[in-house]
C-alpha cells in the first residue's frame, strides 16, 4: 500500500487507544476522593509547585545535538550516492567531517561534554 497506509495506521492507533482507554470508563465505577487526585510523591504531600523554573543540566547537550542532527541529515543523501560518485564524495565528506570534528574537539576541550 502507498501513502494511504499512513492514514490507516494513524486511524488504527487512535481507534485502538480510544477504545482501550474508554473501555475502563464504561466498565468500572471508580471511587474518587481528594487524596486520589494529589500528585504522588512517595506518599507525602508534595511541597510546592512542580512546574517551576529549574536547572536543566542537559541543554548544552541538546544544543550540540542539534548541530550534529543537521549534519546527520546531510549525510543521508550523501550516503546513498557515495558508491556512484566515488572518491570525490569521500573528499567532500572528509572536509565536512573535518570541519565538524574541529567543533567537536572544541566542545570537548571546553568541557561542554563534561556534564556537571
Amino acid at each position: 500500500m502507498g501513502p494511504a497506509s499512513m492514514i490507516v495506521l494513524i486511524l488504527a492507533a487512535v481507534t485502538f487507544s480510544v477504545i482501550a482507554i474508554l473501555l475502563s470508563r464504561v466498565v468500572l465505577k471508580a471511587s474518587w476522593n481528594p487524596q486520589k487526585g494529589q500528585a504522588y510523591e512517595c506518599g507525602i504531600k508534595t511541597t510546592g509547585q512542580t512546574w517551576i523554573q529549574f536547572n536543566v543540566g542537559y541543554y548544552l547537550f541538546a544544543l550540540i545535538f542539534l548541530i550534529f542532527d543537521v549534519e546527520l541529515i546531510f549525510l543521508y543523501p550523501w550516503a546513498v550516492v557515495v558508491r556512484q560518485v566515488g572518491w570525490p564524495a569521500l573528499v567532500e565528506i572528509l572536509i565536512f567531517f573535518f570541519i565538524l570534528f574541529i567543533g567537536f574537539l572544541y566542545a570537548h576541550k571546553k568541557g561542554a561534554l563534561n556534564w556537571s
Binding site: E71, P88, I95
Partner: protein
Amino acid sequence: MMKGETIVFYLLAALTLVSAAMSVGTRRIFRSAVFLLTSLIGIAGLYFWMRFEFAAAVQIVVYAGGIAVLIIFSVFLTQRAGDDMPSPPSLRTIAAAGAALLGMGLVMIQLVNHRFPTPAVAEVDRSVSAIGRRMLATGDDGFALPFEVVSLLLLAAMIGCIVIAMRTKPNQP
C-alpha cells in the same frame, strides 16, 4: 465525491494552521511549544503530501527531534512553565492582529491577481539519490559549495553556543 487525497490535504492544512494559531494564542508556554511542534509536523505532512519525502523527513528530524526538545528544555530552564504568561495589552493584541490581517489581505490580493508560469512538463527525479548527486556535484547546478558552507556555519554555531552558554557556568555555585 471528494478524493481521499484532498481530504487529507485539508486535514493537514487545518492541523497546521489551527495549531499554529493555538501556538501563538495560548497562555501556557509549554502548550505553546507543543502546538508549535504539531504545526511543524503538519507542514511536514504537507511536504509528504507533495511527495517531497526527503524534505518532510528533514523537517521532522530537525524540528521534532531537535528544536522542539531544545525549546522545551529552555522553557524549563527559564520559565515557571506552570504559570500562565501574562496576556499582552489588548491594544497591542488588536494592533498586531490588525496588522497581520491587513498583510494577509494584501498578500491574498497579490496572489489572486498573479499568474504563475505553467509548470514545466518534465518532472525531475526527486529521489534521495538524485538529491545526493546534486548535492555532491560541483558544477553549475551542484550544491557542493553550500553543503560545505553549511558545515562551516554549523561549526560557527556550535562554537558560538558553547562560548555563550559556557560563559554563564561560573555563575553557578
